[in-house]
């Protein structure tokens, strides 16, 4: 199948209108972000604590919010996480003075008091580690191995504890004693000891992230610096390999892409975190990549026919590279799209940036980059100076 064979679209003709459309679009999105009120900065950049918890029952967000505010965590942000059947929730708090090392202790004990009030023991299988479980089993010695040798007994119970907790490692949460009786390393006596001395709490902690305000400020600074320096790096590379006018065109196109994607990202309510920066940097790379291929063709065509006007050469080059531009964007869209829909919550915001980035980047490499390179030529070029 061949797309766009021998097309002669006059891309440059309406360039002024497209530039106006882009500028208006950027202004509207940025304005909307400011009116909307805030950038949703994640704990990576402002500091704070984020706890991911898995429950037996689907968590009720309002109830969790109430639990948190009773515990004195006033500004907790709570949202469900993962797909519906997974019963996971994400609790995020900002940094509290005197609690710079994180609020995870406060959050978890508040949850414990609310959901595990009727606990039958002080050993929660859903929260404790394998080493303490091994110690507990060693103490009760259900398999009668202590008389032989203490060392052997420790090793034995270490293994039993590991295989018990392997279930939690796979599923995230213990929900029934039956799941334990199927494990071959767990004897009937061990199961009895576990039933008597432990309980299965209502929730398990899947992840804890805590970032101090100092680190947050640093990451913010480093993130902005990384994006700016990568832009400068691109400009210098294109300047060096091509000419300054192309570098200018590519730079304007990239800044255009980053601003639009950032605006839409903020409007969609996604959280800004380290992965967002990674997404934006990749977008910078992709956007320039797309543009450079067009410029490469412009340069080649200019060498061949020196007489032609730059604007005509650009039009010709855009048409020649059109099917490549569309096809590459298409395959990239296929993968980032599947990442967005199938890749899970953690990668969704990242995939969102790239999906938008590929679309906007393709548009800008046609309608923004070349017109601005032309503009540079018209203002500073040889013909302008004559």
């Amino acid at each position: 199948m061949e797309f766009f064979r021998d097309t002669h679209i006059d891309f440059m003709k309406y360039r002024k209108y497209f530039i106006v459309v882009s500028v208006v679009f950027i202004m509207v999105t940025l304005l909307a972000v400011f009116v909307h009120g805030h950038l949703n900065l994640g704990i990576d950049f402002v500091g704070g604590t984020q706890v991911t918890v898995k429950f037996h029952q689907p968590p009720v967000i309002d109830e969790l919010r109430e639990v948190m505010s009773k515990a004195g965590v006033e500004d907790a942000q709570i949202q469900s996480f993962g797909s519906a059947g997974e019963n996971e929730a994400l609790i995020r708090t900002s940094t509290v003075p005197d609690q710079e090392e994180g609020m995870q202790g406060v959050v978890l004990s508040a949850l414990d008091q609310r959901f595990n009030a009727g606990a039958t023991s002080d050993f929660d299988l859903n929260q404790r580690g394998s080493e303490v479980l091994s110690d507990l089993l060693f103490e009760h010695d259900p398999d009668q191995v202590r008389q032989q040798d203490e060392e052997v007994a420790h090793n034995h119970y270490d293994q039993v504890a590991e295989s018990v907790l392997d279930i939690r490692r796979l599923s995230g949460l213990f929900d029934s004693w039956e799941s334990l009786s199927e494990v071959s390393a767990v004897s009937a006596e061990t199961l009895t000891v576990l039933r008597q001395n432990t309980h299965m709490g209502e929730f398990a902690v899947l992840a804890v992230e805590s970032v101090g305000p100092q680190i947050g400020a640093e990451l913010r600074r480093k993130g902005v610096l990384a994006i700016i320096s990568s832009l400068i790096g691109m400009l210098i590379y294109i300047w060096f390999r091509f000419e300054l006018r192309y570098g200018f065109g590519a730079l304007v196109a990239v800044i255009h892409d980053v601003l639009i994607v950032l605006g839409l990202f903020a409007l969609a309510g996604f959280e800004f975190n380290l992965t967002t920066i990674a997404g934006l940097l990749t977008l910078v790379g992709y956007s320039v990549n797309d543009t450079v291929v067009v410029f490469d063709r412009v340069r080649e065509n200019l060498r061949r026919s020196r007489r032609e006007r730059l604007i005509d050469v650009m039009n010709k080059s855009l048409n020649q590279t059109l099917s490549r531009t569309v096809l590459t964007s298409g395959t990239t869209l296929l993968v980032v799209g599947s990442l967005m829909f199938l890749g899970g919550d953690v990668l969704r915001s990242f995939a969102f940036i790239l999906t938008l980035g590929v679309i906007v980047g393709t548009y800008s490499s046609i309608y923004i980059a070349s017109p601005f390179a032309l503009l540079w030529e018209q203002v500073f070029g040889r013909s302008a100076q004559q």
Binding site: E2, G129, E131, R169, S171, E209, L281, G285, T332, V335
Partner: protein, 524 residues
């Protein structure tokens, strides 16, 4: 087959074989990041000013001591900052004496007279050295503690070459709170003589002690507190002890410590003293039989038993400990005290369940995305599509081979990087194929169209990939952990796709074209 085809084919075969060998079996050869296998990532800050301050106090005491010995008994000092203090009560005609003492006993200090007082300032190089040593020693201490914990492949290192931060990464740890406590535990152990109640034990209130000293504590005595436990080990109250300021011994005098069982079958810590420590301890306990000896840990009294006999080189710390507490306490006592306090700046703990889930979802997205790309290439380029598919498959093999070979870590964003590479790797193929089509449209023969296509597309392919590589380099520079993993897979993917799209793909074309003398049609 021409010789060129043979050696190029062999080179490709060798590259693939090396990649396969280094990556097989995948589950053993690839390092999974903490976000995929679960574990704890900590960034902690050593409060280095504490170390400087304690050095200042030590040197200051030394100075006063030496000046007294030199007959300047009226000297008094006052701390002004973590690395400075003022000396008073020394007449200016005795400055020569001060110079002598400072040169001999306080190297690394500078001083200047301001009228009545002399200001002491630690030299910058000296303070920097103390800060550096504090961090190095903290890394060492934490490493000792973590080693005792039995974590496989822990990472404990100073962040950057300068600075006071330490990064600790412990894969597979499932009890983060315990680990954090263990690492942070300063475990400053002291043995101090009890002055009231004289035989040891404590009293119920602070007032009781103050009454004993008629409202005014002697300068060498202070009041410390300790918890009271019931038989189950739960804290049921607090009691007070009057103890001497100066410890008889500290944790530094310990040779080793081990968990043990006491006479009532309760967990205890057995400790063994160094030769020097043993002499001091024997002297002190011998002279104070019948008095109380407080075991003080981080400023809290653990227990204050009665000294029944002279103790020479070993002893027992009894308290209301659980077995786990006894193990952890022995560990920190053995590993030595931290030179300064520690603050946690960043903690990221991921349970294995979440990581497993991420791997599955990432894998699914990757497989489906790749299938769609393969399908597209077939639809668009027909027979030549196979060429792109082969290049794509080799690309993935090379990425995993390189990851395994360089011991790089695969993270969740790293998986995203591989998936993204799949989409972008075909770009180089697309550039070349489009160019070949163009040349065919211009009426060239298949062979010369392929030649021209590769030749003309080369500069575009290089430029396009180098720009992405530049972005990946900045990403690597910026990123920590997972993000760095993304930069790594993206960079490797780009390099691999350059190899497959330019070298391998060309070889496949040449191989097909060499079969027949004249090729009339190319399925593209």
């Amino acid at each position: 087959m021409s010789r060129s085809l043979v050696w190029r084919g062999s080179l490709i075969a060798i590259a693939v074989a090396v990649a396969l060998l280094s990556a097989y079996p995948l589950s053993e050869k690839i390092n999974y990041g903490l976000d995929l296998q679960g574990g704890i990532h900590l960034v902690l800050q050593v409060e280095v000013e504490d170390a400087v301050r304690s050095e200042t106090t030590k040197d200051m005491d030394r100075l006063v001591q030496e000046l007294r010995d030199a007959g300047l008994g009226s000297a008094s000092v006052e701390v002004t900052s973590s690395s400075g203090f003022d000396l008073r009560g020394v007449a200016s005609d005795r400055d020569d004496e001060v110079t002598r003492v400072v040169t001999e006993y306080l190297p690394g200090w500078g001083w200047s007279r301001r009228g009545e007082e002399i200001q002491f300032k630690m030299e910058i190089a000296n303070a920097a050295e103390i800060r550096k040593l504090a961090v190095v020693q903290a890394v060492e201490t934490i490493r000792n503690r973590v080693d005792e914990f039995g974590v496989a492949e822990p990472i404990i290192q100073r962040q950057g070459l300068e600075g006071d931060r330490i990064v600790v990464q412990l894969p597979g740890v499932d009890d983060p709170e315990r680990v954090k406590k263990l690492i942070k535990n300063t475990a400053f152990l002291e043995f101090r003589l009890v002055t009231f109640p004289l035989g040891g034990g404590g009293v119920g209130s602070r007032e009781e002690i103050m009454a004993q000293y008629s409202g005014q504590l002697p300068t060498n005595v202070e009041i410390l507190t300790g918890a009271i436990h019931d038989s189950q080990g739960a804290v049921i109250g607090q009691q007070y002890y009057a103890v001497e300021n100066r410890p008889v011994l500290t944790g530094r005098d310990l040779r080793t410590a081990r968990p043990g069982i006491g006479e009532f079958n309760q967990p205890v810590v057995n400790f063994y003293l160094t030769h020097e420590g043993g002499k001091l301890f024997a002297e002190a306990t011998g002279a104070n039989v019948g008095k109380g000896l407080a075991v003080v840990l981080d400023g809290r009294v653990v227990t204050a038993p009665n000294i029944r006999t002279r103790i020479a080189d070993s002893g027992i710390i009894e308290g209301s400990f659980t077995r786990q507490e006894v193990e952890d306490l022995s560990t920190v006592l053995r590993s030595g005290a931290l030179p300064a306090g520690i603050t946690y700046l960043e903690e990221r703990t991921v349970g294995p369940a979440l990581g497993q889930d991420s791997i599955e979802k990432g894998l699914r997205a990757g497989v489906i995305g790749m299938a769609l790309v393969v399908l597209t290439m077939f639809v668009v380029y027909k027979g030549t599509g196979i060429n792109a598919i082969v290049a794509l498959s080799l690309n993935i093999i090379l990425i995993f081979g390189a990851l395994a070979y360089f011991g790089a870590t695969l993270t969740l964003p790293g998986i995203a990087g591989i998936i993204l590479t799949i989409g972008m790797a075909v770009d180089a193929n697309v550039l070349v194929f489009e160019r070949i089509r163009e040349e065919l449209h211009h009426g060239r023969t298949v062979k010369s169209a392929v030649d021209a296509g590769f030749g003309k597309a080369l500069s575009s392919v290089m430029d396009a990939n180098i720009t992405t590589l530049i972005a990946a380099l900045f990403l690597f520079q910026f990123g920590t952990g997972p993000i760095r993993g993304f930069a790594v897979t993206l960079s490797i993917g780009i390099l691999a796709s350059l190899f497959t799209a330019i070298f391998v793909s060309r070889w496949i074309f040449d191989l097909i074209l060499s079969r027949r003398r004249r090729v009339e049609r190319l399925s593209i």
